[in-house]
């Protein structure tokens, strides 16, 4: 499989995961191998149900593979989880409705034992980052879906996780906001050198953000293509009109089409 | 099946505590008896004695079990299942009032809920009073209900069933109102775009959407019905039924009899709830609401 130049943070080897359901077993991951280097931005793209979320969850130690091996920083994902290596943004915002936006962002900080002053400072900082300053005292249900999603991103950024796993974080946003957050995310990534795993349905988004694009196909879920991006680290928004970009997008689209087959 | 072992464990623990409590609570009597007889008894003798008193403060589990068997299974075996000394007979009497009361109560409850959901006046006026009605101690009201119904010529099963209905209608109203209101705005709007009538909205949306709520409240309602039937048995002369067994047991200090009637009632309740649970599962499965 693909090798990257940086030291490897996540290393998956021949992963297999089968869910036992009432309708029989579901083969969600089959023979998945992948190396993710430190500081890489890896996007996962593929049709619905191909196992993107499942793979991310395996990396985070939320799901145990039924076969193969995976290590994170040389540890098992579970050990990595206990050392609080992850920030995770779920497909839906998943804010706790009884906490204000500020309280939700403070949640991981309280749990990890940051001191009060530090908490306040961090909350303020990440709220600015996602442009929600002024909404600290509101409750989630008083905000629009897009704002909630931004708050949930802020929550994952508030503490110093080395690895950021994001499951379609921008799925519910409109294009303009999405563009904006894409830029912000790239800037943040450049600044913090976090390793990022990012699930998306949007080809331009995957191409625009990633250093590596993983195309997956379903039934059973497996990796059908891994594309290293030739785009430079500096990416203004209009890079999307460049020929390299369009070519890359075409390659991803072809990969996707192939995997699609019967699923319409 | 994964419930059997945990449940058995919990039951075992409870039975253990129960035996210990029986020894403790019946000890006084055992010692007093010994003292009157002028003998000294050891702890083991005392403990053994506490297991077999005629009128224990707390009967031992096996005494209750024996009594239950004696008044049910043994009766069936000797062909006297419906003798007056059989709990099957008394259970049946209570059960018939329970079922009638439950039928009245749940039909009334559903009707009231439909009214509340469809009429603003009913919504605003009935609910607070329905709640207040449940804070009235039924045992105080029961004799009056019986007498009043008696004076207009209603006797027999019905007065008991009325009390039982009084207790069961409330959970059904509450559950059904929640259920009939459970469709979300989008589901309601969809019907609006079809310009569906109120009746169509009820049959095609509100009613099916309320089914899970209905069954949950029916389960609470039928247990309440049983309590109502038992309460109703006291002021009808406590002649027959599980309530009468409890009362006369209490009146003659027959604790074993009270406990076995109590357990018989709980078993009947559990069976009724299980029965509704079964109907629930079949119905919801056919509706595609259970996975």
């Amino acid at each position: 499989m693909n090798k990257s130049t940086q030291p490897v943070v996540i290393q998956a080897k021949n992963l297999d995961l089968t869910f036992q359901t009432n309708d029989g077993p579901v083969h969600a991951l089959k023979d998945v191998s992948l190396d993710i280097g430190k500081g890489e931005f890896v996007s996962f793209i593929g049709p619905s149900g191909c196992g993107k979320t499942t793979f991310l969850r395996v990396m985070a130690g939320l799901e145990t593979p039924t076969g193969g091996e995976i290590s994170v920083n040389g540890m098992t994902p579970d050990e990595a989880r206990k050392s609080r290596a992850y920030g995770y943004v779920f497909q839906a915002a998943g804010l706790y409705p009884w906490r204000t936006i500020g309280g939700n962002i403070r949640l991981p900080l309280e749990i990890m034992g940051y001191d009060k002053a530090d908490q306040a400072e961090r909350v303020k900082r990440v709220l600015e980052l996602v442009e929600l300053s002024g909404f600290e005292k509101k409750f989630p249900w008083q905000l629009s879906g897009g704002m909630q999603q931004r708050a949930s991103i802020a929550r994952a950024l508030a503490f110093d996780a080395e690895i950021l796993l994001m499951d379609e974080p921008f799925g519910a946003l409109d294009e303009i906001v999405r563009d904006h957050l894409n830029e912000q995310l790239l800037a943040l990534w450049a600044r913090t050198k976090k390793t990022i795993g990012f699930v998306t349905h949007s080809i331009p988004e995957a191409v625009y953000l990633s250093t590596k694009i993983v195309v997956m196909s379903p039934r059973p879920g497996r990796i059908s293509d891994v594309i290293d991006s030739p785009l430079p680290p500096e990416r203004p928004l209009d890079i999307r009109d460049s020929p390299e970009f369009i070519e890359l997008a075409h390659r991803v689209r072809d990969g996707l089409r192939e995997g699609h087959g019967d699923a319409v | 099946m994964r419930y059997i072992l945990p449940v058995l464990t919990v039951i075992a623990v409870i039975v253990g505590i129960w035996y210990a409590a029986a020894v403790w609570m019946n000890a006084q009597w055992a010692y007093d008896q010994a003292e009157r007889a002028g003998v000294e008894i050891t702890f083991t003798e005392m403990a053994a004695q506490t297991m077999q008193q005629d009128k224990p403060v707390l009967p031992a589990p096996h005494q209750v079990a024996q009594e239950l068997w004696k008044t049910t299974g043994a009766m069936v075996l000797s062909g006297r299942a419906f003798s007056k000394r059989s709990l099957i007979f008394h259970g049946w009497i209570t059960l018939s009032a329970t079922l009638l009361g439950f039928a009245i109560g749940s039909v009334a409850g559903i009707a009231l809920a439909v009214g509340i959901v469809h009429s603003r006046v009913m919504d605003m006026s009935v609910m607070p009073w329905a709640i207040a009605s449940q804070t009235i101690p039924i045992l105080a009201l029961a004799p009056m209900i019986i007498v009043v119904l008696n004076s207009v010529g209603v006797q027999g099963l019905l007065p008991k069933a009325v009390i039982s209905a009084y207790l069961s209608f409330f959970p059904v109203v509450v559950g059904m109102v929640t259920g009939l209101r459970s469709p979300d705005a989008m589901q309601m709007d969809l019907l609006k775009t079809y310009s569906a009538s109120n009746a169509q909205g009820f049959w095609k949306l509100r009613l099916p959407a309320s089914m899970p709520f209905l069954f949950t409240s029916l389960k609470i309602g039928i247990a309440a019905s049983l309590v109502g039937a038992i309460v109703g048995e006291l002021p009808t002369g406590a002649i027959r039924g599980l309530g009468a067994r409890m009362l006369t047991g209490s009146y003659y200090g027959q604790n074993i009899q009270i406990w076995s009637a109590l357990f018989a009632a709980a078993i009947v309740a559990a069976l009724l709830v299980a029965l509704i649970g079964l109907i629930e599962r079949v119905t919801l499965k056919r509706m595609g609401l259970a996975r």
Binding site: - | S83, P143, A238, R240, L247
Partner: protein, 309 residues
């Protein structure tokens, strides 16, 4: 046949043997009556049933019946099969009680439901407060059984000679460990189990005739029961639908009941009536009746019943 419904004031037991015997032996049938006996219980106020039309006649203790009269329900005693009172207080000997004066500072279980008045008037005669404390008695509303005594929650409880007292003995207590105070002996006895009907019905000659036949047959039943106590007890047992009564218990109860009905031909002794009223009028701070009742009993029925024999 004429229908008559009789409301008892307690569950089926030998206390009501006369009526069950009359039913079983066909005495009622012989008088062309079709009698239904409704058992009572702790929650049933027979006067209420009478008022609601659920019964034609009821059995009641006189204090309760007179109270109903004052509340505006004119019930009239038409016969009094029980001559003697069976009510008493049963105390632990080791509580140190030997006479009513020793009640001070003790806890006593009393039946309420209209039956507390003989007790209250007795205590007021003795000059003992019923509000608790050093110089008074602490009164408990006693439930239906003798547990409060057995478990020593009370020093004394109310018992009937024919029932609860026997239960105490059955529980293994020796009579030597107990002290009893019969109301009859304390001079505060009130009339128990009498037959009552509504005053307004008694102006109807047909109803009166029915009652005459009913009382006559009932008294026949009582006398039969007195003479054949064991058979009477078995008849009661046959009529007990709860299946909770035991043979031994009912036989003993019948034997004791016979002592209370002995000497009554059904007619009310005016002296007993006067004593009952006096006791009640003298009763405590919150008397059950405030004035001498009028027309609370009639001898018309018993006179007719006895005359035609």
């Amino acid at each position: 046949a004429d229908d008559v419904t009789l409301q008892l004031q307690w569950v089926t037991q030998a206390q009501f043997a006369g009526y069950y015997v009359a039913l079983d032996k066909g005495f009622y049938e012989a008088e062309d009556l079709n009698v239904t006996i409704k058992p009572g219980g702790p929650d049933i106020a027979p006067p209420q049933v009478l008022a609601g039309g659920g019964a034609d006649v009821m059995l009641n203790w006189m204090p309760s019946a007179l109270a109903a009269r004052e509340k505006g329900l004119p019930v009239v005693n038409i016969a009094q099969p029980f001559k003697t009172s069976g009510l008493m207080l049963t105390c632990w000997k080791d509580s140190g009680i030997t006479s009513p004066a020793d009640f001070k500072g003790k806890t006593i279980g009393v039946w309420f439901f209209g039956n507390e008045y003989p007790f209250l008037s007795w205590m007021s005669q003795e000059g003992i407060s019923t509000e608790g404390g050093e110089d008074g008695v602490t009164v408990l509303k006693q439930g239906f059984n003798v547990d409060p005594l057995l478990q020593k929650q009370a020093d004394c409880i109310s018992t009937m000679t024919y029932n609860e007292y026997g239960q105490v003995l059955d529980a293994g207590v020796s009579p030597d460990d107990l002290v009893t105070f019969k109301y009859e002996e304390q001079g505060v006895a009130t009339l128990e189990d009498g037959i009552y009907a509504l005053e307004e019905n008694l102006s109807d000659p047909a109803f009166v005739d029915k009652m005459v036949r009913f009382v006559r047959a009932s008294m026949l039943g009582w006398k039969y029961a007195e003479e054949n106590p064991d058979e009477a007890a078995m008849i009661v047992l046959d009529n007990d639908e709860t299946g909770a009564q035991t043979e031994a218990h009912q036989k003993r109860m019948m034997a004791e009941i016979a002592k209370l009905t002995a000497g009554s031909d059904g007619s009310l002794d005016e002296a007993d009536y006067k004593r009952t009223v006096a006791t009640l009028l003298g009763g405590g701070s919150d008397p059950v009746i405030t004035k001498e009742p009028e027309g609370a009993w009639t001898s018309a029925i018993t006179d007719a019943a006895l005359a035609s024999e």
